[in-house]
Amino acid sequence: MKVSLNKRILDRNDECAQKNKLFFEQNSVLCVNVISSPGSGKTTMLSRTILALKDKLKIGVIEGDIKTDTDAEKIRSTGAAAVQIETQGACHLSAVQVHDALTQIEAMDKDVIFIENVGNLVCPSAFDLGENKRVVLLSVPEGDDKPIKYPGTFAGADVILINKMDLILYIPFDLDRVLNDIRKVNPDAKVFKISAITGDGMQQWYDWLCDMTA
């Protein structure tokens, strides 16, 4: 006997994501889900962004890592509120984890909530967290083949930050190829070339963020 269901498999996550989305709408909070490989510079990029915009925007950060709260500590050293979720092995954050974290950083009083997802270019993109915008970071040392190898992740991005541009002189990285491959899977994404360490190129990213919260 066959029973036809056609039921969304991650519907419980999606239902909670809708609750989060409603929370962000009702409290005029811009929620940005930041996805990348481990070591691409998410925390450095966020720390610099918080320091640059601290007089303009109230920012809170939800940190996702398999273990440790070192990233949340780094964010707190900038003066921003941060809460660490330790996933204990899970390779992505879920909407329920984000929902629980929102109350811990008084999210309703913030202008922007960044969710720094677990470092991984595959799994996080399958889980809607209720965010308003999705940012994918790609750093030069990872290589220029990432957009075409992980098309699902790059296709879902509103903004793609190409980080560690200060290293492009020393590492074989075909920037034209990357831009071309991004266009194939996501012609509408904004692409900003940055160095979170030196600060080069960061202004256009700040401008975008301020536009989104205006």
């Binding site: 969304r8 991650l10 419980r12 992505h92």
Partner: protein, 116 residues
Amino acid sequence: MHETAVAQSIVETILVEAKKIDKKPIRAKISCGQFNALNDEVMEFAFDVASQDTACKGMKLEIHHVPLRANCKKCQNEFEFDIYSGSCPTCGNSEIEFVPDAPLLLEEIEFEDEDS
């Protein structure tokens, strides 16, 4: 390994459905789009692990991959998207728009018949 979370969700749903009609589930069919990045071997393994010690143990899981489709903005042709070419197979234009990728669906569950 997001397949682990997907497998747990499938098993939970099947157990609810099995309880409703009090029958043993023997096969399930799921479908996914290209951006869900589901790997068959990992998915089957994760499903086996999630089914242990439940009524789903020993079930067969069928995974159907739905191709990604795109529309050409120039000639309006709808085609199956090939990541290696990235352009319209009819006119060669690379200005395209994706048709929304297929969702992750639990399409069907098969249960053991009374007389089997």
